[in-house]
Symmetry: D2
Subunit: 293 residues, 4 copies
């Protein structure tokens, strides 16, 4: 279905994306992402914006400038006019985060209809880490002994094998229905899906999942998709990186504090009126670590 | 933007739909529909279904049969894997029904940014009719005198002209802001939008809006879109017509009544246990008008 | 948070639902459903319909009659005006079906933030069954030996215990981050969520998940929710049961066949023009098993 | 339906919101907002967050602090656990902006079923203004003569009267069906709806529609709703005002520029590397008008 067909079309194309269409991009140990289909390119965003804003867009007569303007000002609907469809292979625990993005279309492999393959995600040793003390949902910087890491990798690997043996035994030797046999499989087993989403909602997904607070494994997928988006809609990609991915939201209070500092005032957490958490976030957002002792 | 470009693509195409790409299909007196872009064809539905149901779909080895099966059994997600983008010009009162379909992407012409054109929907004389007595939301069969029809058409037409004059006067002579000037325009004024939707949700739209209970004017648009869908995904179109558009939902009570009749029992509204409304709907759903006096 | 508070409110209430508010309704071996909050009752559906249809609803002057009418005619928006919030404990493999209903609000227990409990779903012996031959996604009627059933239950149970041991060991002895340790847990482990949904979308969920084609385990939850809905909105519940849950969708072709039979014609699959699959569905929909040899 | 009922409930209440339940809050000349029903209060947000983040939320042991944290960090799902239902009377042109918020439930008065009232929005003289030169979608600061304003108000008012006369004539004297007669009415005619939405999506609505770039008339509604939200969920309201409504999103480039300025560098648009539009936005976001000549 996804060999190198060459069709003629009257639709707009994205020349760079065409080059990787249907190619498998490996992610993690057994996963992948593959672009199955797409609709639109940078010009589709501009086209939709010009319908909405009519004469209002004439003054911004360059496509890149208009796309930057739309992104900076939160005019999101023109980005909904591009759509992409991906074939993705991923562990179930990653899938469970993924489906929380509700504005997408999904067809997932069904373990009620079919038998799952013997493929489980086992993290590389360098990605095995302790619980972060400061981040309740994250990994600590690397302090774990390599013996412990090896033991963990071995445990995960052997236990997954064992799970698959039990699964196969119940299916094949005892004739158990697939929908019950699969309940023994751990959430690191791989599944597959077709996933179709518009560019605006994809950017929302990427902002959350290519973020350093997302679990490492879903970040790997999000980063692979960022590369795809760069090929597909290069202007929109740049606008996203500059004005959303690398942007921060700052409160009026922080703007006021910053202004006082610009006017020469010395500020500390105590005099700032901010809570400790907010102060830490202020320092980080305004990149002031080296300026405030 | 929509001239006859010819691009090479590795994506699947719909050969018949390509032929009308960007062509303007007239609807009502000043409206139109134009296919701007699309994603997928019948094979995309099959492709997604095979991912979901895996081995479960092997036995239905023909695409048309599988699509019929999916439609009959309400397996709707594979139909979400096709997407279409239309450019539509339509009166505001039609647009107001249209936007109630929330699972679509819209960019509408903004009368805050730009000046609206002097185009208003005036129904043909044959479409002007009295209020239906039985259908609170519909038109009566044609009983109105042609004098009355002509007066109505003249009223609508002259009043729309007058509205546009006032609009232009306030805009041009008094310098009123567009966002206030447009508040004088009646809901029969034309607007435009880009509308993008997946095939499953489009079928839902078509089932409601190509229905005889929908207002005539939106039916015209829905019927034009049905023709487009027939070209785009002929198998899915046939399945939709046979198993959804021309299907009826019947209650257990009606199935039981029908069975009694098949077994030779005579049934009337009084003996049926149905309310008058239900009985009328039963006769209609089972097409029994000529069998029950 | 959910003890027997007694507050005064100016909002409408559902007296029967109030009685079970916050009470835990057990489902499966360790699961439950608990009504946390709700908005509206049958009168809220009527109230919204009267705003939409105005004078058009005057003739149907009884609430139950109006609700039946709305349900029969697919006027779904008034049902969106009621909302319910449930606290649910369920196995992950059931949760994975559940989240496919996208028009709901979810807060799920996070295994990145917190440690999961040692609770796994093990089916009762009577629910352990072989793969259905005719239904690719279902269980066979009970042919399995009780020895095999016991072996399966034992395997599932022992393996789940083992998984939890490994999980605890990696967490506690090796200090592994929670987000990786949990990847070893099978999909029969229990999770919890708050789930909030409007009545229209809940009915959609119930039609699919209280259906005999849904996996038995999610049916248990759907049936428990049906009981809740019966207490909450008794008129809407009855309308749903009569006109949607126990209704069937039949094609024009089947209506025509049925009419021929009513007129005395003998029909068989060969003469019907239906495919074998459609014929089987026709017999089932019209409940004709005992009338056609 | 909305008189002063007093029911007992086991649900949480919002004591301040109860006081205005069902009361009509006037907006514009003929419009209003009325709280019909609601679900949840500040504690519901905390409750949902504690399910999701479990032990992870223990350290933030105060409700207000936790709600602030959730808002600052974009943890939006707990806010979806509160829901409100409003009865709103508003001009059609405002309604047309309103429905673009798709994640809400709506029942609108139907002009196919019922006759519209003779009520049209006519702006106060002080709100009548010319087209802004710098803002393509806005009003200019007040330069218009009071004669012109009066003429505009008179035009709008007289023309609306005339439209209603024609509407009534076609309906009553010529018996035209309602669905066509209403097409003559201008978009300043009032309509009504029930509108139900969760708190997260309501905040999104408020951020866009209580913003100074929104049309003045919808701002009036948004501001009235802000007052309602303040009574309903005071902690969430404060968090919203501080961390979202009054926050700005700033790009990495602007953070870097600001840092240079903090370090004593002089920056102008030419040396900044920003486009003119970005520079203007930078000055505005960081409130630097008085610091940069």
């Amino acid at each position: 279905m996804c060999e190198a067909v060459r069709n003629e079309t009257g639709r707009v194309i994205s020349a760079e994306l065409e080059k990787i269409l249907c190619k498998t991009i490996p992610v993690l140990d057994h996963g992948f992402i593959r672009v199955v289909d797409y609709m639109g390119n940078d010009s589709s965003i501009v086209q939709a914006a010009r319908v909405s804003y009519g004469a209002g867009t004439k003054q911004v007569n360059e496509d890149r400038g208009l796309i930057n303007y739309l992104m900076r000002h939160g005019h999101t609907t023109p980005f909904e006019m591009c759509e992409i469809k991906l074939h993705i292979k991923l562990p179930i625990f990653v899938m469970r985060h993924w489906v929380r993005h509700r504005t997408a279309n999904i067809n997932e492999y069904s373990a009620r209809y079919s038998v799952l393959s013997n493929e489980f995600y086992i993290p590389e040793l360098s990605k095995i880490a302790g619980q972060s003390k400061t981040n309740k949902q994250g990994r600590a910087d690397d302090q774990m002994s390599s013996e412990d890491k090896s033991e963990i990798a071995k445990t995960l690997s052997e236990f997954s094998e064992k799970a698959y043996e039990k699964y196969s035994h119940m299916l094949n030797d005892l004739g158990l229905t697939r929908e019950l046999a699969r309940t023994i499989l751990p959430v690191n087993v791989y599944t597959e899906m077709y996933w179709k989403i518009d560019l605006h909602n994809l950017f929302h997904f990427l902002r959350l999942r290519a973020d350093s607070h997302a679990q490492y494994e879903i970040q790997c997928y999000a980063n692979a998709i960022l590369d795809i988006v760069r090929l597909w809609v290069p202007f929109a990609y740049d606008a996203f990186i500059n004005y959303r991915k690398n942007s921060v939201s700052v409160s009026k209070k922080c703007i006021d504090l910053n202004k006082k500092m610009l006017q020469g005032e010395k500020i500390s957490q105590e005099t700032s009126g901010l809570s400790k958490g907010e102060w830490r976030e202020f320092i980080e957002a305004f990149d002031l670590k080296d300026m405030i002792s």
